[in-house]
């Protein structure tokens, strides 16, 4: 199987059927987005159902990361609506999205280097004891839980949760961000090129984790340039071209070669 030759991924069992009769976890309806005068997303509609992995693919600059940031509340779309579990939502900040169980691993906004690992892990989701107006960090508890999550999800080489994160390698930092998203993600998990800096072993780990998240009923939005990674895990593949959805493919609808040709062709 050439498909799995590079980085074997978990093969979902054949009976895995997605129930799309209910409400999607998350949905974009006719969303457009501009950075200043530069319009980069044109009337995109996209839904992710519970227990579904949607692979979002496309050329550099197609707008994949921008869509993820809109989902995550980091960017506010210029027009269109966002729906979460069947209700219209507006996220003022990413904190609102995270409060609803939406977690993202960003391509370019993963980690604050100067903070220690456990502080990065719990950043924005700190466990605190509230004393009057003060939010006192529960440091021992966060250290313990970060350590536990990291060893459970396979980042075993991490020395100590006290180390500032800049002492970690690029791949280790990426793993911290992924582990954090897996730990806090309750409804929707979004990963933007999570395997870009990872070894074969870590990549397998991440793909397996995506499979597990899906089995737990989370929706997953997965962005990657490596179709060897996307094809085996994605239930649907959405092809984005210059800010527009040009094709939606179900599992098994395209082969690896067809998919690669589709992305590579000049629009």
């Amino acid at each position: 199987m050439p498909l799995h030759a590079q980085a074997p991924a978990p093969i979902p069992d054949k009976t895995h059927v997605i129930d799309r009769s209910g409400e999607p976890v998350f949905e974009l309806r006719s969303v457009s987005h501009s950075y200043g005068r530069n319009k980069v997303i044109f009337d995109v509609s996209l839904a992710v159902w519970p227990g579904e992995v949607v692979g979002l693919v496309g050329d550099n600059g197609a707008g994949k990361s921008t869509l993820l940031k809109i989902f995550a509340g980091y960017q506010h779309p210029t027009s269109g609506t966002l729906r979460f579990m069947g209700k219209d939502v507006r996220f003022a900040t990413p904190a609102d999205a995270r409060a609803m169980g939406i977690e993202a691993v960003y391509q370019d906004l993963a980690i604050v280097d100067q903070l220690s690992l456990w502080r990065n892990f719990f950043l924005g989701k700190e466990i605190v004891r509230t004393i009057g107006p003060l939010h006192v960090l529960e440091r021992q508890r966060m250290r313990r839980e970060a350590q536990q999550a990291i060893s459970e999800l396979g980042l075993t080489r991490v020395r100590s949760v006290e180390e500032p994160v800049w002492t970690l390698s690029g791949g280790e930092r990426q793993s911290v961000a992924i582990t954090r998203a897996m730990h806090f993600g309750a409804k929707l998990l979004m990963l933007d090129e999570p395997t870009a800096a990872l070894s074969v072993r870590e990549t397998r780990n991440v793909l397996a984790s995506i499979g597990r998240a899906r089995d737990h009923g989370l929706g997953v939005l997965y962005i990657d340039h490596n179709m060897n990674h996307v094809l085996p895990v994605a239930d649907r593949i959405v092809l984005l071209e210059l800010g527009r959805v040009v094709r939606v493919m179900d599992r098994g609808e395209v082969s690896l070669e067809e998919l690669q040709d589709l992305i590579a062709r000049r629009p």
Binding site: A72, Y74, T93, P94, A95, D96, A97, R98, A99, A104, Y106, D108, L109, A110, I111, V112, D113, Q114, L115, S116, R119, L123, G124, K125, E126, V128, L134, H135, V136, L137, R139, Q140, R143, R144, Q147, Q148, S151, T156, R157, V158, R159, S160, V161, E162, P164, W166
Partner: protein, 343 residues
């Protein structure tokens, strides 16, 4: 986070455990950011102790401790702001503006001293709010915003007391609380306040969520925002802290000296930043310590008074500080203490 380095890290994996235990006591000590400035201060104190006869005299202690404590209080607010990645060049003018307002209301116009103090400090807070709002809403460098505020306040100070000195004759309760002598010691109230404020903000940085957010905002604002940290609000709050403590320290100086001129606090914006940097705070945000800034302030004050004691012309002090500042930053960059992890 600085205090954390001394804590014993928890580790579940065996490899992690052995790696951690191999860290020697010396290594842990080297990780304490206050160590280098602390040794620097010790060296300077030792030098002046040996070179002068009256370094430990009550007069010298009074001079050093009052100069150091007012600079330190200004520097604590500035340090909070620098850690979250911003500067405040208006603190020196605020250091004069706030007590001028207080003195005008209370000495000249006979307002209740506490009410007058509250109004003056509220104005200081307003200055900080304007700095913060302009910087975060328009996304311009705080260097520019607060330079503008520097000139605005300088103009106001000129206008308000043009060349006069406002003098306070009768000691009052507010004046005593902020500036009185502590018993028969050579020390004055600003020193006590400095320890209280420094302790409080050490706690804020090391133990509160707000401290975590301040470090994260200055470390890298994008990821901090993406994780849900209200980075704009954090910055605006720190602008207010910086302005408030500059104003409060100015009021303490007024209370101690019983007088204020428009020249009070001249250069303090730069001395506060210098104290912070000497104490190990990064110019790029994301790292810094409160006690380091306190040590930095004592370093500045000790050198200022010490040079006078050994007969060096007083004006040479700033020249000396300028050279030292550059050397310390070069050493820090060389040692990778800061600036290395901004990529």
């Amino acid at each position: 986070m600085d205090s954390d380095t001394s804590q014993k890290p928890i580790s579940a994996t065996p490899s992690a455990g052995s790696r951690v235990q191999r860290r020697s006591f010396a290594e842990i000590l080297l990780n304490v950011r206050e160590l280098a400035p602390g040794l620097g201060l010790a060296a300077v104190v030792l030098f002046f102790t040996l070179q002068t006869r009256n370094f430990w005299s009550p007069q010298t202690m009074t001079a050093i401790s009052t100069i150091a404590s007012t600079i330190a209080i200004v520097s604590i607010g500035v340090t909070m702001l620098m850690i979250c990645g911003e500067f405040d060049l208006s603190v020196g003018q605020n250091f004069a503006f706030t007590p001028i307002i207080w003195a005008i209301l209370f000495v000249t116009n006979g307002m209740n001293e506490w009410l007058a103090l509250a109004v003056a400090l509220a104005l200081a807070i307003c200055v900080g709010m304007v700095n913060g709002l302009v910087t975060t809403i328009f996304g311009i460098p705080s260097f520019i915003t607060t330079l503008g505020m520097f000139f605005v306040l300088q103009g106001l100070n000129n206008l308000l007391i043009s060349g006069h000195q406002l003098i306070m004759f009768d000691p009052s309760s507010a004046i005593s609380l902020l500036g009185a002598r502590i018993g028969t010691t050579p020390f004055y109230m600003p020193l006590v306040w400095m320890f209280i404020i420094a302790g409080a903000f050490w706690f804020v940085l090391a133990r509160l969520r707000y401290g975590n957010w301040t470090f994260a905002t200055g470390g890298r604002v994008g990821p901090a925002k993406a994780m849900g940290v209200p980075t704009g609000r954090v910055k605006r709050t720190n602008f207010i802290l910086s302005a408030f403590f500059a104003g409060l320290a100015g009021c303490m100086q007024f209370a101690y000296l019983r007088g204020v001129t428009q020249g009070q606090g001249q250069n303090y914006e730069l001395l506060a930043i210098t104290a912070a940097v000497l104490g190990g705070t990064s110019l790029f945000g994301g790292t810094g310590t409160i006690w380091g800034s306190v040590i930095g302030a004592f370093l500045l004050a000790t050198i200022q008074i010490g040079l006078v004691l050994i007969g060096v012309p007083g004006s040479f002090y700033v020249t000396f500080i300028g050279v030292m500042l550059v050397i310390v930053v070069i050493a820090n960059v060389r040692l990778g203490r800061f600036g290395t992890n901004q990529a």
